[in-house]
């Protein structure tokens, strides 16, 4: 068992699950989407991205790319959230919530690709 692989897999899967947890639920209902979960998803995604730094393999490069996409989408979602709660006069209404959640949905797709890559990598690993 390789501890580095454990940590790596843990963060990749956790990033996807947290993202999923925030995304699930009625897209326009602010009560079903907890900002703490979004915060956790951003932090874990950032850590997963940094963990993918410096891998020279082809699959490592794709891993890093998907993570960067996920982080980009999640950061956009938090910016929208911050704008809605602090700047917009309407507050966290249905349309703002829908925007934030749909952005996190995009990030979820990228995170699912990451998990698929992780599974592919694991399955194709042969011990000589």
């Amino acid at each position: 068992m390789n501890l580095e692989k454990v940590v790596f897999g843990f963060f990749v899967v956790l990033a996807a699950t947290l993202n999923f947890g925030f995304f699930i639920g009625d897209i326009s209902d602010p009560d079903l989407h907890n900002p703490y979960e979004l915060f956790a998803a951003v932090v874990v995604n950032l850590i997963a991205t940094v963990l993918k730094f410096g891998d020279r393999t082809q699959i490592g490069a794709v891993h890093l790319a998907t993570s960067l996409v996920a982080v980009l989408q999640l950061v956009a979602a938090t910016l929208l959230y911050g704008y809605a709660t602090h700047v917009s006069s309407a507050g966290m209404n249905e349309s703002w919530t829908a925007s934030v959640v749909s952005l996190s949905g995009g990030a979820l797709l990228a995170n699912i690709v990451s998990v698929v890559l992780l599974v592919v990598e694991t399955v194709s690993f042969h011990r000589d």
């Binding site: 850590i47 940094v50 730094f53 410096g54 020279r56 959230y81």
Partner: protein, 611 residues
């Protein structure tokens, strides 16, 4: 100074591509291996930044989360939770020690306790991250990887022909400087970082890419442009014979079509180099021997040769008057002594060799003893000698030998070897008749071979022309340029480079004298001398006024820059040519040509030649 459009056309219509592509692929592979090494270092750096970055992210996340969870109070004492944005804002300015205070409302004691903890945490996190980043930036491997990438990008972007110079010592610097003066580009490889740094201080006209790397590594040579389509020659000038041999090998195997010039000081290495294609080897001692022979036989020819080899801006060297017969004394029987002794004996001189160790002087008169010993000097019988060579590898010995020899016989012809550049002022003060500075001999030779093929041809064929001819050429050159050598340039009388001339050249009446008139005032001659006219590999040295020109001839000019500009106008503008040839001012524009009475408006009006 190559027209970029022409260069592009040349690149697009590249001939014998298949062969070249195969060879170039090999060099690309080598270059890729070297570039991969550099990128590997960058990946390692990113890997090493993982831990500090994750620590920073975690500390930030924990502090922000804590601030949003801990309950606060607003101005009216109502309970208030901080939003994520407020918490992130507070942590950002606190962690970076900017410290705007307690925003948006004063904190409760609970919050203050948490902020105190997070201040210490974040400061540690930042210090760790920034510290590791700075340490990595200072890392030698990282810096050299960065400079390698920077260098290879610069070389890959070169779109003009360039020289690849391996070794930027004294010789490399001299070669680089004279090529820079010609407006040519070059790329430098050297082991020593200090010498590469000197490139930046060197105030060259063009930007010179330089890399501190071992030129024995073919990967470094490939990165420096060995596989580049614009690389025109490789020059191996390192101090290490073995390294020069390796460079010659790499160039011959990876780019067999490139000319290679290497500096050597022993015959065995030179012969080993000849096994790889036909590299040109320059042995300073051998060349100095040849120069001395030429100087003995034809002082004016030697003067002309050394002047032209010194490059643009060089002062006319003095014409020596070496003795053509008599006895020479050679101090030091090393590599130089051996060459000179055999050269002098081939010229029919008697030679006495003075050497510390008893050696086989190959039939010459040998005197064993320390040259700095007055008794040995007395034995060598300098009073009745005509020339002396101070050729030991010690500058102090050489200088004192020259002084002692001059004292015993002031009329001696003195040849001396200068080993260290620092001794140059001392040798200059001694006013030596023939001074060997190995680095300069090599640099001049490389310059002569690479500046233009025509100059090299001229210098090779010139010694056979005789002393009187050489004197005349020197006189013609000084009449045009003065005592300082001006620019040398090449003109090809092809339809592309001299479009105005084609009709006139085809008439068979085109003489050099008629062409070389000033386009402003045709009574005045152009301030330029033709050193060489080349037609189908057949060269005419210093052709006279009545030399007949034909289409496709190549001419090597020496003269002032103004003459070069004037000549190019004559070559390009038909109206100017007409004036230069006949004295008639022809209207240049289409309208005036059409209006001019009795003159055809055809552009080949110049084709009729002088009446």
């Amino acid at each position: 100074m190559v027209n970029p459009v022409l260069a592009l056309v040349k690149r697009l219509s590249g001939r014998d591509r298949g062969d070249r592509r195969r060879v170039r692929r090999a060099t690309f592979r080598v270059a890729a291996a070297s570039a991969a090494q550099a990128s590997a270092t960058v990946f390692l750096i990113m890997r090493r930044m993982r831990a500090p970055l994750i620590v920073l992210i975690v500390i930030f996340a924990v502090s922000v989360l804590g601030l949003t969870v801990i309950p606060g109070q607003d101005e009216n004492g109502e309970p208030l939770r901080m939003s994520f944005f407020d918490a992130f804002y507070v942590m950002s300015y606190t962690a970076t020690t900017i410290g705007f205070g307690e925003i948006p409302v004063p904190f409760t004691y609970n919050q203050r306790m948490w902020v105190t903890v997070s201040i210490y945490l974040t400061v540690i996190g930042w210090a760790y991250a920034i510290g590791s980043l700075l340490a990595l930036l200072q890392d030698r491997a990282f810096r050299s990887a960065l400079s390698l990438q920077h260098f290879s990008r610069k070389v890959a972007r070169l779109r003009e022909p360039f020289l690849l110079i391996a070794g930027h010592g004294r010789t490399g610097e001299l070669v680089g400087r004279s090529f820079d003066k010609l407006g040519r580009r070059f790329v430098v490889l050297d082991l020593d970082q200090e010498r590469i740094d000197r490139l930046e201080l060197g105030s060259y006209v063009s930007d010179v890419p330089g890399l501190a790397a071992d030129a024995r590594d073919p990967g470094h040579l490939a990165v420096a442009g060995l596989g580049h389509a614009c690389c025109e020659a490789v020059v191996a000038l390192t101090n290490d014979e073995e390294a020069n041999l390796t460079i010659v090998m790499a160039a011959a195997l990876l780019r067999p079509d490139l000319p290679v010039i290497a500096r050597v000081s022993s015959r065995t290495i030179a012969e080993r180099m000849q096994a790889f294609g036909t590299p040109s080897t320059v042995n300073a001692f051998d060349r100095f021997g040849d120069h001395l022979r030429l100087a003995l036989r034809a002082p004016a020819a030697y003067q002309l040769k050394s002047w032209l080899e010194s490059g643009p801006g060089a002062e006319l060297p003095e014409r020596g008057a070496p003795p053509s017969s008599g006895r020479w004394v050679v101090f030091g029987y090393g590599r130089l002594g051996r060459e000179l002794t055999s050269d002098l004996r081939a010229e029919g001189m008697d030679v006495t060799v003075v050497e510390v160790q008893p050696t086989d002087a190959d039939g010459a008169d040998l005197l064993v003893g320390d040259a700095s010993d007055p008794w040995v000097l007395a034995q060598s019988d300098l009073d009745r000698a005509v020339g002396v060579v101070a050729g030991t590898d010690n500058d102090t010995t050489n200088l004192s030998l020259v002084a002692a020899a001059r004292r015993s016989n002031p009329s001696l012809f003195v040849a001396a070897r200068q080993n260290r550049p620092a001794s140059a002022p001392l040798f200059a003060a001694m006013d030596i008749d023939a001074l060997l500075v190995p680095t300069e001999v090599v640099a001049h030779e490389v310059y002569a071979q690479l500046s233009t093929p025509l100059l090299w041809r001229f210098l090779r064929e010139m010694p056979g022309q005789g002393e009187a001819w050489a004197e005349e050429v020197v006189d013609r050159l000084t009449a045009v340029c003065g005592t300082r050598l001006q620019t040398l340039w090449k003109v090809r009388l092809t339809a592309q480079h001299a479009p105005a001339l084609q009709g006139w050249l085809a008439s068979g009446e085109a003489t050099l004298g008629a062409l070389l008139r000033n386009p402003e005032d045709r009574e005045a001659p152009l301030h330029a001398v033709v050193l060489l006219a080349m037609r189908d590999r057949e060269a005419t040295l210093a052709p006279g006024e009545d030399h007949v020109l034909r289409p496709g001839d190549e001419l090597l000019f020496a003269g002032r820059a103004a003459a070069r500009r004037a000549l190019s106008t004559t070559l390009l503008v038909p109206g100017v040519l007409e004036y230069v040839l006949t004295g008639r001012r022809v209207p240049a524009s289409w309208v005036w040509r059409a209006l001019a009475p009795g003159r055809p408006a055809s552009p080949d009006a110049a084709g009729r030649g002088p009446a």
